[in-house]
Amino acid sequence: MKGLKIDLAELRKDQERNFAERLKFIDSWVDYIKVHSDKEWSEQQRMLIDSQIANARQSRITKEQYLEMKGERLAKRRA
């Protein structure tokens, strides 16, 4: 591919910024958990996790493809 200019330093800065933002989000979520009842925070967690699991199940990958993605397959033990 010709003419593609990648500024690695800029990409790394973005990466660091994103990570710092995720850490900040974790801190605010911890603060939320600390001042709300288990029922309140976990209902929000339930909605997120249940929808992520439902989405993952809709993917059409096969068991074999899933194991291959995990780098496992039956071949792992037979190699």
């Binding site: 995720r22 979520w29 288990d38 976990s42 967690q45 996790i49 039956l74 033990r77």
Partner: protein, 195 residues
């Protein structure tokens, strides 16, 4: 969240699908073997806002592996990465993991291994019971879990460690955490990401 004792925590949470999968599965597992859950699901159990495809557990051998597999099949589970019960057991003794999910599905799944390293045995010997409305789950030492997550070192691992540390720091055993941090050589990560 109620700290009932040094080894028991009660969570009055609304169980999500992953929690229910874990609770249903450990009801079977605990009839056949001593187990402990470690790694990402521990953070999720305490409220980390992310899903996980796999739940990592160590099992201190099975009383009767064929009986365990028979009950798994009866209860609608399958071993994802091996059809033969004998080979599945061989995988475990070879230090590999077997993955168990609900029949016809591959996620979420339990990734079960026999303990190999001292840290694995420590987790099995220092379990914390987390009581939910519909059952209990046994997880490994929280201090070791946090230090080990820092040792693994991916973005997700560091986030899990930070979540557990920031949530539970008043309840953690500082000396124990310091010991694991030193042993695993993660002091720099601890200072950079957790404090």
């Amino acid at each position: 969240m109620e700290f009932v004792s040094a080894h028991t925590i009660k969570l009055d949470k609304v169980e999500n699908e992953l929690d229910r999968f874990v609770l249903d599965f450990v009801r079977i597992l605990e009839r056949h073997a001593k187990y402990v859950i470690v790694s990402g699901y521990v953070a999720i159990l305490f409220g980390r806002n992310r899903a996980s495809e796999d739940v990592d557990a160590f099992v201190a051998d099975f009383q009767d592996f064929p009986a365990f597999v028979a009950e798994l099949h009866d209860q609608g589970y399958w071993i994802l990465n091996e059809d033969s019960q004998q080979e599945a057991y061989r995988m475990l003794t070879d230090g590999l993991a077997i993955r168990i999910a609900k029949q016809g599905k591959w996620q979420p799944n339990f990734e079960i291994k026999f303990p190999k390293r001292d840290t694995d045995f420590y987790s099995l010997e220092h379990r914390v019971e987390v009581k939910l409305a519909s059952g209990s789950v046994l997880v490994g030492s929280l201090e070791l879990n946090i230090a080990f997550k820092l040792f693994l070192g991916s973005g997700k691992d560091i986030e899990d460690a930070r979540f557990l540390y920031r949530l539970l720091r008043e309840r953690l055993d500082a000396a124990k955490l310091g010991y694991f941090i030193g042993q695993l050589g993660v002091k720099k990560a601890y200072e950079e990401y957790l404090l």
